[in-house]
Amino acid sequence: MRKRPDLYTNYKSESAIFSTLTQKVWFVLLLFISLLLPFYLSNYWMLLVTTSLLIAIASWGLNIVSGMAGQINLAHGVFVGIGAYTSAVIGGVATSSVIGFELDMIFWLPISGAVAALIGVIISPVSARLKGLNLGLVTLAIVFIGSHFFSNLKFITGGAGLGRKAAKLKFLGFDLDSGISIGNLILEKNDVIYYFSLILCILLGIGAKNLTRTKIGRAFSAIRDRDIAAEALGINLFKFKMYAFALSSFYAGIAGSIIFIISGGVEPGTFSLLYSITFIAIVIIGGVGTVLGPLYGAFFFTMLPGIIQVILHALGVADTGFFLNAGEIERIVFGFFIIFFLVFEPRGIWGIWFRLRNYFKAWPFSY
């Protein structure tokens, strides 16, 4: 007889990140594929994959504060922006209009996360006063106030409509902007950023998973589900909400510090309401409160438009003189995808995966 897949025989395997052998095999396989990806995918797809990884990091952040701890934050994009500008100031080049210190990544990466986390901590007391959607709405104000600051603090951001260059990629003294070569292997800047993002993504992903399997994550969930009960069980709401905001913003700051290096620069207009809402959509479409959900969501949001475009091109739809152009068709298809995903599976892509998994587990016995 086959072993029951969910039967744990000891505490250690149960509390492990990958509790079954299948999971471990999958992870190693995926890791291997990820490492080889740059040798097989075109620059364009690599760009999308890298972006997805970084967006996933930021989305994990939102998932921590909103998905796990239930503190709705509509201003997550602003924290990504704070990370971006922190790194741009510390690691970027000064010009006549903006400041910049051209420091090493070893400085700006953690500091970007820390600064964002600090602002998160400063904002967190608001959540002691407000709950649920009301909290979300206050953070909505933060989006607008934040982008007003971004537009007007020209010496940091370069101002609306012009922006500034992102941080330079200098790591432990190596200038990675022009790529590196390890023996025969030549890694271009894009590849370097990809591997960097991959490492960060794995580390921070494991961090997110660690949160869920420890006291902190449980306390977050408790606050989310029933805060009064949580308090009666000895959980200090104020402290844990603060943790949630800090951790969430830390993730956002880290992601923000790198993501704009790819696109070359940061422009304050980026951090609009829509940008923040995108992260919410990613988390919801991926699967709220789950570890893998935000990763799925990030890939969905970043890759799908590219895939749709390729398909449209292959079909030649764009050239047929249809009343919508390729870009518009892409948007509409994308819109439909969002709708149908949510109608079909309101728990997000993770839910679909979960269903499939359960189905095959139970197969061929349906009940």
Binding site: L137, I277, I284, I332, G335, I338, P346
Partner: protein, 306 residues
């Protein structure tokens, strides 16, 4: 003084347009617990229909106007039937994100139609949307804005009476709080949702006309004006129609006064508030009001008891 009155009038008329948008948002929220991100799209779709008929097809303006308003209501209804009905009982945040998808669909198609040039909606009287205005004590009262004010007052009174007198007012709230329990009372939740989206659509149609009517023109960015009603709804309390109205007026007046007095205000505070402050100010007000009253000025407080 004239300037002050003028600013007040501008604020009030802005506020009344916002209130038309805001009430639509509130109705949808009240019945479904969902903040609809598709609402601004509905607002501009209405204007698009009017313009397409009145200007492109040469349909007499009033006919086009009426068709446009009704069409917007119907589009609201269709959206509800096709996309939102299957979501009954699902997490509200999923539904809210779903409305982003709807917004994407509606606006992409509409923007394709709007195209490059600003569209105008036509004009029932040569002087209505244009320079027609009353001048009272040096204050210019524009017909279009007066009409917005009156429309808002009429719609608000009508809705207030409807929801006070009919059983649907309470039923709507019940569906929002607990769909299952509402169903068990024999409330046809689906019908309520449909009704709400229909009314919201009609209100959006009116708002669309006032936002883009006259020389205001319909462009691809017109929907942003509708988005400005958001802080109004929040200030008033998401589930309160009177709240939406008061919130809208607060936002409108704030915007109006900042518009006319920002330079003076800056002189007093001693530093520049930055260009674009007039649209940020409502959010600042919203921020502080929520800190003092977490459920907005008139919103129902969330019950928490163990």
């Amino acid at each position: 003084m004239t300037i002050f009155l003028q600013a007040t009038f501008e604020g009030l008329s802005l506020g009344s347009v916002y209130s038309l948008v805001a009430i639509g948002l509130v109705l949808v929220y009240k019945a479904t617990d969902v903040l609809s991100f598709a609402h601004p799209a509905l607002v501009v779709v209405g204007a698009g229909v009017i313009s397409a008929l009145a200007v492109d097809r040469g349909v007499p303006f009033w006919l086009a106007f009426i068709i446009g308003i009704i069409a917007t209501g119907l589009i609201g209804l269709i959206v509800e039937r096709t996309f939102l009905r299957p979501m009954v009982g699902e997490p509200v945040f999923s539904v809210a994100i779903l409305t982003i998808g709807i917004d994407l669909l509606l606006r992409t198609i509409l923007n394709n139609w709007i195209g490059l040039n600003p569209r105008y909606l036509g004009d029932p009287f040569p002087s209505f949307g244009n320079f027609g205005s009353l001048v009272v004590n040096g204050v210019t009262l524009k017909y279009l804005e007066l009409a917005a004010l009156f429309t808002a007052i009429i719609m608000i009174s009508f809705l207030t009476i409807f929801f006070k007198k009919s059983k649907y007012g309470v039923a709507m709230m019940a569906t929002a709080y607990d769909q299952e329990a509402a169903l068990a009372q024999g409330i046809n939740v689906g019908r309520i949702f449909g009704l709400v989206w229909l009314i919201a659509g009609v209100l959006a149609g009116f708002a669309g006309f006032f936002i883009t009517g006259g020389f205001n023109t319909l462009t691809q960015t017109s929907f942003i004006s509708a988005l400005r009603a958001l802080p109004a709804v929040v200030i008033g309390g998401l589930d309160s129609i009177p709240g939406a109205v008061v919130g809208s007026l607060i936002i409108g007046l704030t915007q109006g006064y900042v518009a006319y007095y920002q330079i003076n205000i800056e002189n007093i505070v001693g530093f520049s508030l930055g260009s674009g402050f007039s649209l940020i100010a409502p959010y600042l007000i919203m921020f502080f009001i929520l800190l003092i009253r977490p459920d907005g000025l008139f919103g129902r407080e969330e019950v928490e008891r163990v």
